[in-house]
């Protein structure tokens, strides 16, 4: 393989290669670092990039383990981890001034599993501050740019992870998805992003935005790679009370191969309300793919009128939980430190929170506190929960007749920098097709559907809880229609 091959090769290919020659891991990592040196200044995927020496030392140990005959599912693979997932000894900022110098003393369960499987964490990726945003522009440090068009955003909030994959700065990535934060950037960068069933991947160590909606999600350039990564991180965790109890691991890669050879016919629902308001060229790309899928599988249009309340319900619940989850940041035990001499704790807390949080975060905390306050809770929060329950019921009904729902990932192409962030309605409306999966706890995947002119468009599939295999299968079908080629950005 040439160095360029290393950079854009799939993890699946790399692993086969490393198994026959473990020493190649070090060449591969060198290639990744060379690539980073070349493109990072333009893309800016990483908030914290680990030193090459440190990563090499770690990789040497992986090589040793491989040579000793250990079976490592992700031996030597460079993984980019979103900066809201705790990494022991590596700064974890949530792209916020509040945690600019915070170094966690423990690993998130997902990170622990990655390390155990021989993966190498290469850096911590940029994101919207505390995952609040859909463009990676609310990062307190800098925006990340879309490798497909450096004038445009990579989506968010896991924009850094998606951009790193698209730009060849990592082979696999972890993101987190509260209302589309894995699927949105995947769609905008022509990568694959999966939001697992709520409770499939442990949230322990994921810095909470909205606990009842958050899930860590695997991201990669191919469906098979997402299956590979999911197999490693989808393990029951007693440290997370919302983790679904189950025995052992599931080999999603193997299950995907099985489905791809048996090729069962899928019953796909097209919820008409969710196909409205698309940009014309986005709609064209999506329909082209959907038509071809529906040629081989059974598609039917259904109507779920209540989906129109999904977006407000989502934002109410997310903000309410955020206002509570982010209360702990007061600068006392960790995080932004201000002068405390001669001042009361209230003064100190106020200054820490005024200076530590950015505008979008403050806005959501303030709205969330309002939503939960006595007298308004019934009107907003309780009603939002009701919508959530009704949505769940409606989709449960749909999933009795259908395997999956097909819907757009994003109704628009990636916006230019500054375009969406100045228009909150536009910003929030971007999430219209992604928030449902989080509200009902369902898994959903975004797969590259093609290009609208020069910009990526993603198609989304959503299924009932624990239907990840079918989602991967549907994704693989789309991938096949694009003749399996990973879309490579011009950068």
């Amino acid at each position: 393989m040439t160095k360029l091959d290393y950079v854009y090769a799939s993890a699946t290919e790399l692993l086969t290669y490393f198994r026959s020659d473990p020493d190649k891991i070090l060449d591969y990592l060198e290639a990744i670092y060379d690539r980073i040196r070349k493109v990072e200044a333009k893309v800016r995927s990483y908030i914290t990039l680990r030193s090459r020496e440190e990563v090499e030392r770690e990789a040497e140990n992986v090589v040793k383990r491989l040579k000793q005959g250990e079976d490592l599912a992700l031996a030597g693979i460079a993984v980019a981890v979103k900066d809201n997932i705790s990494t022991r000894g590596i700064r974890t900022t949530c792209a916020s001034r509040m945690l600019e110098n915070y170094v966690p003393p423990y690993d998130a369960t997902a990170v622990k599993l990655l390390k155990e499987s021989g993966a190498v964490i290469i850096g911590k990726t940029n994101m919207d501050e505390f995952a609040m945003g859909s463009t990676t522009e609310t990062s307190a440090f800098f925006p990340t740019r879309n490798p497909w068009d450096l004038e445009r955003v990579p989506g968010g909030s896991s924009g850094g992870s998606a951009a790193a994959l698209a730009a060849g700065e990592a082979s696999l990535a972890l993101g987190s998805d509260t209302g589309g934060s894995v699927r949105c950037p995947a769609a905008f960068t022509a990568t694959v992003g999966l939001k697992p069933t709520y409770g499939l991947v442990s949230r322990f160590g994921l810095i909470a935005y909205a606990s009842s909606l958050d899930q860590i999600g695997p991201m990669a350039r191919t469906i098979a790679d997402v299956a590979l990564l999911l197999s490693v991180i989808a393990v029951h965790d007693p440290k997370d009370s919302t983790s679904i109890p189950r025995n052992g691991k599931t080999d999603y890669y193997f299950k995907l191969e099985e489905l791809m050879s048996s090729r069962p016919r899928l019953r796909i629902a097209v919820v008409k309300e969710l196909w409205r308001g698309l940009e014309e060229d986005v709609e064209r790309v999506l329909h082209r793919i959907l038509d071809r899928i529906c040629g081989e599988h059974t598609c039917d249009e259904v109507s779920i009128p209540i989906t129109r309340y999904a977006l407000p319900a989502y934002y109410i619940i997310a903000m309410a939980e955020a206002s509570s989850n982010l209360a702990r940041y007061d600068g006392l035990r960790y995080g932004l430190h201000v002068d405390v001499e001669g001042r009361s704790w209230i003064e100190v807390f106020t200054e820490v929170r005024s200076r530590g949080f950015g505008f979008e975060v403050k806005k959501r905390i303030a709205l969330g506190a309002f939503i939960l306050s006595a007298g308004y809770q019934e009107q907003y929060y309780i009603r939002a929960l009701r919508v959530r329950r009704l949505l769940k019921n409606e989709f449960d009904r749909v999933f009795k007749r259908f395997d999956l729902v097909a819907l757009p990932s994003m109704p628009i192409k990636p916006p230019r920098l500054g375009e969406a962030i100045t228009d909150p309605i536009k910003l929030y409306t971007m999430d219209i097709d992604t928030v449902i999966a989080n509200l009902i706890g369902s898994p959903a995947i975004s797969v590259p559907a093609g290009l609208a002119a020069t910009l990526p468009v993603g198609i989304q599939f959503m299924g009932p809880p624990l239907s990840e295999e079918k989602l991967l299968y549907a994704g693989a079908l789309v991938e096949e229609l694009r003749r399996g080629a990973a879309l490579k950005p011009p950068i």
């Binding site: 809201n84 997932i85 705790s86 974890t92 949530c94 945690l99 915070y102 966690p104 003393p105 423990y106 998130a108 949230r203 322990f204 160590g205 994921l206 810095i207 909470a208 909205a210 606990s211 009842s212 007693p238 440290k239 997370d240 009370s241 919302t242 309410a320 939980e321 206002s323 509570s324 209360a327 702990r328 940041y329 007061d330 006392l332 035990r333 960790y334 001669g342 704790w345 209230i346 807390f349 506190a369 939960l372 306050s373 006595a374 809770q377 019934e378 929060y381 309780i382 929960l385």
Partner: protein, 481 residues
């Protein structure tokens, strides 16, 4: 006092637990180096999640059953929000009666007997919640300290919050209620209230349907009684002078023995309760409750009945013994060595208890062993010591835990039963008190005075029967001469 309404809110730590409520940190934080019993979870570091300690639920269920409460079919935790430096997350994981949430249990009651009357205090609810950390002020006072120190060792310790209806009508009733409650908690093994800070009370009090005043954070039963008595007096004085009692939160100063204003309470604080999404509701099954009920230790009321049956004690003795778990335990242990139970119960609830209280000895500091009391009674039964001596050495036994037999021997307190020895003493006493002898010769009843003199001389060690016999013999001799 018919117009006084008191409601209590009691916080007790579940000291029986080995670990904290939501993390595996050890729960025995007392006397440990500050911030040494902490982990990312109880420090509320970013990204951590709570996991419920199942044993806490078991103990809570025991208390709920003992207080006749209806246990909810779901275990739901909520977040109670307020900013304070001792709370790592700036919210407390607690329970609440609201939309989508429920207290652990509700609608219970506790039956009391006060001066022979039966009284029922209703329990509104019991919640399971986490304790915050501890703030210490270097000068001991918030106002004068230039800085404060926070110890999070206590953060996350399991608490039970027991809330009564305002059924209590006097400070004495409050004391009776709390005494019985603590006794139940100790019998269940849930809480060791001798541990500092394991038991705190907030008291709500209103007079004549007026404003409710809350007194926060009272540390002992005695202080609850005092604070309430003070508060009744204060409020009554205001009303008598035509004033209006303000709705407020007050603080009990145990040193100056007064309540002082903490903050006026115009509106309910808004804690923005909502169900904790990190702790999905858990079903509480009837099988679970049945198994807890089966594993429950004996409760005080049952123990009183058993004492009456097993030891043949009357209700009064049984009740006094069982009113404090340690005393009842002490009795039962001593009863293994001494079987005249009534006598044993008697000495325990009179002399023994008197000195324990006099010295202010806490049950866990008590050095006297049950077998010591049993031995003391045996000595008494065998006539080796007098009751006077027994009473005399009781304080020593209570204070130092000395073996009564050794104590008596080393101090020479054995009864003087040797005829010659006693005769010698009697003679000396009579010789040096001719007036008393004269009286006795005239009036046989005056012998008692001489007996007294002999007892005084022997510090009560003289065998009384023998003494009288010898005095009478001597008097015969006087008459003869």
């Amino acid at each position: 006092m018919g117009d006084v309404r008191i409601g209590l809110e009691i916080h007790v730590q579940i000291t029986a637990l080995k670990t904290k409520l939501f993390c595996p940190c050890p729960a025995d934080y007392r006397g440990k180096e500050p911030n040494s019993h902490v982990c990312p979870v109880c420090l509320g570091l970013p990204g951590v999640l709570p996991v419920i300690n199942r044993d806490a639920v078991k103990y809570a269920a025991m208390v709920a059953i003992a207080l006749n409460c209806k246990i909810s079919d779901r275990l739901v935790f909520v977040r109670k929000h307020y900013f304070y430096p001792d709370m790592p997350k700036n919210y407390q994981i607690s329970q609440y009666d609201g939309v989508g949430s429920t207290p652990f249990c509700r609608e219970g009651f506790l039956k009391l007997t006060i001066n022979g009357h039966e009284k029922i205090v209703r329990i509104r609810r019991i919640n399971i919640e986490e304790d915050p950390g501890r703030i210490t002020y270097p000068t001991g006072d918030i106002a004068t300290s230039p800085y404060s120190l926070i110890d999070y060792n206590r953060a996350g310790i399991a608490l039970l919050e027991i809330v009564t209806e305002p059924d209590i009508e006097s400070p004495q009733e409050a004391r009776a209620f709390l005494t019985k409650l603590i006794n139940i908690l100790e019998h269940l093994g849930v809480t060791d209230t001798s541990l500092e800070g394991s038991f705190r009370v907030d008291a709500n009090i209103s007079l004549g349907g007026g404003s409710r005043v809350e007194i926060k954070n009272i540390g002992s039963i005695k202080d609850v009684e005092r604070a309430l008595a003070y508060e009744i007096l204060r409020q009554r004085t205001i009303i008598e002078r035509g004033g209006i009692v303000r709705r407020e939160t007050r603080h009990w100063d145990p040193v100056r023995k007064v309540t002082i204003t903490l903050r006026a309470k115009e509106v309910e604080e808004d804690y923005r309760y909502f169900p904790d999404p990190d702790l999905p509701p858990v079903r509480i099954t009837s099988e679970f409750i049945v198994s807890v009920r089966r594993s429950m230790p004996e409760l005080p009321d049952m123990r009183i009945e058993r004492f009456m049956k097993q030891y043949g004690l009357d209700r009064y003795h049984s009740t006094v013994l069982v009113s404090q778990k340690w005393l009842a335990d002490f009795f039962e242990e001593a009863a293994k060595h001494y079987t005249r139970y009534k006598k044993l119960a008697d000495i325990l609830i009179t002399d023994f208890l008197r000195w324990v209280n006099e010295y202010g000895i806490k049950p866990h500091e008590l050095r006297a062993r049950p077998i010591h009391i049993a031995r003391l009674l045996e000595l008494l039964d065998k006539g080796l010591i007098s009751i006077k001596i027994a009473k005399e050495i009781m304080p020593e036994i209570v204070r130092s835990g000395s073996d009564p037999e050794k104590l008596i021997r080393t101090r020479g307190l054995l009864r003087i039963t040797n005829r010659d020895e006693l005769q010698q003493i009697v003679r000396e006493v009579m010789r040096s008190n001719p007036k008393a002898v004269e009286d006795a010769l005239r009036n046989p009843r005056a012998i008692n005075y001489i007996v007294g003199l002999v007892m005084k001389r022997t510090r009560g060690r003289a065998d009384p029967k023998l003494t009288i016999e010898l005095i009478k013999n001597e008097l015969q001799r006087y008459k003869a001469s």
